[in-house]
Amino acid sequence: MSWVSSNLGVIAASALAHAALSAPTVVLSFVLSVPIGWLAHRYRLTRGTLLAVAGVLYAIPSIPLFVILPIVIGTSARSPLNVVIALTLYGIALMVRSSADAFDAVERDVVDSATAVGFAGMQRFFRVELPLAGPVLLAGLRVVSVSTVSLVTVSGVLGIPSLGLLFTDGFQRGITEEILAGIVATVVLALLFDVLLVLAGRVLMPWARATARRAPRARTREARA
């Protein structure tokens, strides 16, 4: 464990940089995918096209993408922005389908009744459809989050600071311990992200758990009568 103990600072700094690349990617994937997923859910005609295009994004090989992106968008080759944008595309590829499914899973009756009592379009989206799509959105986002944390390591090849640098450096210098440290740290970071998402879900969607538990029914007039 000598390499690890003498390089804790390097690991911590890499992990921090790794998190700084992952977090905005996950957030962007979510924010961009939800409206696209909603469109796919809402309009039958667009559904096939949107889901197909989003799915194909995932087939783009990552290293060439990292090479092409700076040329297309005019960033420098080692800009972290390239990583965030490229991995957001992969995030969207996963998340659009989840989002469409999430909105599909919201009961039509509930949306109708929200309309009937006077929710206007945007109010209905933010206060009814989005929260009710929440559990399925969260499930999709957890996959995106784990996948993103893992994919960020590829940016190590470009020399952009992340836990991926521990792999490339470890390979070049033949330090097995450094490679292992990189793997373990990546897994731990992915788990940490996952735990945060689950906790956020519990705070934002207290009803989902309360409903799943099904508290004992209260006595009512009809029960007493």
Partner: protein, 282 residues
């Protein structure tokens, strides 16, 4: 008063849900639209709050054509209760009831205080206020649905098969409660059902619909029972059979009423005029 004037609804695919429907729904009474599925009753109900806009004809509330009213504002002053309650599963009971007043800008604390009062009105224990809808029984959920429908103190309450998904005993209980509420509150209730017994129980006016929103007969339950307009109505209300075709039979010197199958339904104690005059049976 709600007035349907020559209302039709045709869909782009050529099917027609309603054809030239005209009916006046008087204020402060319950009007029941009853018919089998496909008769357009829900479509008609939804035209009142503009969930559906008619292809031709118009719907007017107190003389004002609803087509000229902003649908969202219109809906916020009309109560709506539907089958399976239509409650928001992610909001607590109290917030579900307070939803519409808060959309109208009533402060949260005030809306929640009013919601608790409404729970009393519809016979729900206040201890249920912090539950989520899925934690309630079907009957309780419907009561919350009714409370939500009443939350803005609307003149009009639209009810779309609200008791269709609960068991018969709870349904009977809810029907009794609705009759009581209606006696106390005097709303203009438009109630949709496929159950003719429910229609006769709740309706001051009953509109029997045939396929395509054709009015087979309109009248008080008594008028319809006394003179079914045609074969369809007679068969729909079952006038010629079972518990509606009653006969008087003499047994031990008492008039016993028996149904179409010869089963005793009750005892004849006199006429309604006797009862009104304080005679036997009162």
């Amino acid at each position: 008063m709600i007035e349907f004037r020559h209302v039709s609804k045709r869909y782009p695919d050529g099917t027609s849900a309603v054809e030239d429907f005209s009916v006046v729904i008087p204020s402060r009474e319950t009007t029941v639209l009853v018919g089998s599925s496909g008769c357009g009753k829900t479509t008609l109900l939804r035209m009142i709050n503009r969930m559906v806009d008619p292809s031709s004809g118009s719907v007017a509330i107190d003389g004002e054509d609803v087509a000229h009213v902003d649908p969202v504002r219109l809906r916020r002053r009309i109560g709506y209760v539907m089958q399976n309650s239509g409650l928001l599963p992610h909001r607590k009971v109290i917030d579900n009831i307070a939803t519409v007043p808060m959309l109208n800008g009533v402060p949260r604390a005030q809306a929640r205080a009013r919601a608790l009062e409404l729970m009393d009105t519809v016979g729900l224990d206040r201890s249920l206020a912090d539950r989520y809808p899925a934690q309630l029984s079907g009957g309780q959920q419907q009561r919350v649905g009714v409370a939500r429908g009443l939350a803005v103190d609307p003149n009009i309450l639209l009810m779309d098969e609200p008791f269709g998904a609960v068991d018969p005993i709870v349904r009977a209980d809810l029907q009794r409660e609705l009759l009581r509420l209606q006696r106390d509150l005097g709303k203009t209730v438009v109630f949709v059902t496929h159950d003719i017994d429910e229609a006769f129980l709740l309706g001051h006016q009953v509109v029997i619909l045939q396929k395509g929103g054709v009015v087979a007969q309109r009248g008080t339950p008594r008028e319809i029972l006394a003179r079914p307009a045609n074969e369809f109505v007679a068969s729909f209300i079952g006038a010629d059979r079972g518990k509606r075709a009653l006969r008087v039979a003499r047994a031990d010197g008492v008039d016993v009423v028996v149904d179409g199958d010869g089963r005793p339904a009750g005892v004849l104690v006199g006429t309604e005029e006797d009862a009104a005059a304080g005679g036997p049976g009162s």
